[in-house]
Symmetry: C2
């Protein structure tokens, strides 16, 4: 998963460019296959043995690699295994959502060594939320101490769109959560040296499914989240599509047949259709505490349908078709190889077949439709993946603390 670099930073040809490229490849190889000997790295990458050795020496001197035992059992000289040093650095991922704030610190392999959470601040004001965020991150950093090296990246997940140019959170006019009004980059700026990455939660869930989940084998898919709110994360050619202003994937605005667009009624066509389908009286204007209610109502409908109530079954059928329509629209626009369903409502098994049928019926070239496999940890995993990606690429560009 690449996060596009700005075209401004065009790398000039130079010796250091070459060296960093080599180091990056060697380090990546060690990440991929741990532990590994120099000779294996050379064979796997195609780089000559001597160059690999040289690079490994640099990386060890920089504190990024460590010898890890001996390769025995085969003929010939005993090789020395290498691994990434446990003190090479660590990353922090934060999921900032209306229900709670969750944090996860992990080493560069993505193995978490620390997790914590806080319930939402009371009263729920932006300043309070910001304070809690600071608190949680500060605690994590002090607790990590220097056992894991230095902090290399922080990724924060938010429920709002994020401006891709500035990484600023875009407040939503219609559902102003206090969590959506704080700017993590400003909030944490004086607390951490590392780069602070901010990204939308559904996008991050998509990233997670790409790394560990159901989209491991494809580089072009859409992750459709349907819960109290809805959204979509889009990965095309292994790149996360964020849109010019960060609102790519706002599929709640799609028009669908049961909620056709009309003057003043068109906004949230799809979102209204889904919410209205489950709960005709409410629509989408539930407000903050209504969110859980929306999911609960949907669950009740699913339960009634499972018990055989014809009316509820019809609702499920219709909802599946509505979702299928939205997915078909997405397919007509960007043609993903796979579409994953996620979120408390989207994951419900009763929905899958109706959705598939509708997409089959409507999409030009229907994609595979599957369900996400990561559940509600997807967001945090995605933030972790984002931070990791950044940390790993930064490692070689700026040699570790040992070399300064």
């Amino acid at each position: 998963m690449e996060i596009r670099k700005g075209p401004g930073l065009r790398a000039l040809p130079s010796m250091t460019l070459l060296r960093e490229l080599t180091d990056q490849i060697v380090l990546d190889t060690v990440f991929e296959q741990t532990p590994v000997t120099r000779a294996e790295i050379a064979q796997h990458t195609g780089i000559s043995k001597t160059t690999v050795s040289e690079s490994a020496r640099r990386l060890e001197a920089a504190g990024l690699l460590l010898p890890a035992g001996e390769q025995r059992g085969r003929q010939g000289r005993v090789g020395t295994y290498y691994q990434v040093a446990p003190t090479a650095g660590y990353v922090v991922a934060v999921d900032l959502n209306p229900t709670r704030i969750r944090l996860c610190a992990a080493d560069l392999f993505g193995h978490p060594f620390q997790q914590s959470a806080l319930p939402p601040a009371q009263p729920r004001e932006p300043a309070r939320v910001a304070e809690r965020l600071r608190e949680l991150v500060a605690d994590a950093v002090t607790e990590a101490g220097s056992d894991h090296g230095r902090l290399l990246a922080v990724a924060v997940s938010v429920a709002n769109p994020v401006d891709p140019a500035t990484s600023r959170v875009i407040p939503l006019a219609d559902t102003p959560y206090p969590e959506g009004l704080i700017q993590p980059q400003e909030t944490l700026a004086d607390l951490v040296e590392a780069p602070i990455l901010v990204e939308n939660d559904v996008n991050l869930a998509a990233v997670a499914e790409r790394w560990h989940g159901a989209a491991r084998t494809t580089d072009s898919f859409a992750y459709v989240y349907i819960g109290a709110g809805m959204g979509m994360g889009l990965v095309v050619g292994d790149q996360l599509i964020r849109g010019a202003r960060g609102v790519a994937g706002e599929i709640g605005y799609l028009s669908v047949s049961s909620q056709p667009a009309g003057p003043g009624l068109g906004r949230h066509g799809f979102a209204r259709a889904v919410a209205g389908g489950f709960h005709p009286e409410r629509g989408q204007d539930g407000g903050q505490d209504g969110d859980q209610v929306a999911v609960d109502v949907a669950r009740q409908v699913f339960d009634r349908a499972a018990r055989g109530e014809a009316e509820a079954q019809a609702v499920v059928e219709r909802e599946g078709r509505t979702i299928g329509e939205a997915i078909a629209a997405v397919c007509a626009v960007i043609d993903p190889e796979v579409v994953l369903l996620g979120g408390p409502i989207g994951l419900h098994p009763a929905l899958l077949e109706p959705v598939r049928a509708a997409v089959r019926d409507l999409a030009p070239l229907p994609p595979a439709i599957e369900v996400g496999t990561l559940g509600d940890t997807a967001v945090l995993h995605g933030a972790l993946a984002l931070a990791l990606r950044r940390a790993r690429t930064d490692l070689c560009a700026r040699p570790g603390p040992a070399s300064r």
Copy 2:
């Protein structure tokens, strides 16, 4: 505009990589600012003077650069201007569409030096069309002779989707043009050495608008073509989005309010709505010769509306809204910075305001909506741009004929 490289071809660090990078940057600079001296290149790129000189020497030896006069009028030593050699190579672009086959040969600056066209073969059979294509390309190559160096790339535009993995044309089941049944790569394989690029016509029109047209200043936009057929070209982060199976941008399948999706009726929702709006009796099943008719009918409606006929004005208004709905759907999915309208129908000025109003009303964050500026030459220009991009990047990787 980048056409994504496969991740398999990961460049290994090496001296030649460095050299090729330098040469590419130098050559690109000469393309950008012709004529230019070595010193200017050095200053502009940040590469040292000696390195630039060395690179220029290589490129001149390879026949890619030529001295072009002297830099006078300022203090100091007289500099020698350099330009790209006229014999460095050339590219060929072909627009293969049901109306005619057009060809354009151009030097590496994109200046055409040869243009030709053939009317469609009669009878219109795939074998005949293929023969005409071969004929046209063969003529172009012989006529180009060696005045322009060797042929470096051929780009062929087709009205069908193209599989991004194999570059094969995907036949359309519902409108089987004979042009859509031939595979340019196979047809031309024994005729040309150069790589043969095949791409969808609307995608290429989008590429053209990015290079020379209305999208010069943005790297994320959608080009919506509405004529007899309809389609969309999508550029995100300066990359052309082709979709997993090449059918990204098939917006004819979008569901819109005036043509809601329903069992067996949902396919071509948007396409049907547009066609049906102008010509209620026909729908979209016009067949081959019906295409021009569809455009003519639309034109008549526009004319009647211009003369003040209320009914026709209402049709235009409704059509604009329908198109706006489709664009809003696109915005909800990928959030382009700009949306360009193109095609004989889409370009009509009477449509612009209704479309804008509808998008303003329906899209989450409405983009700028403009009209394409390249008219019906857009496709050929786009093919040219595609071929040029490929040719220019290949130039340095494989040194010119002089060095073999």
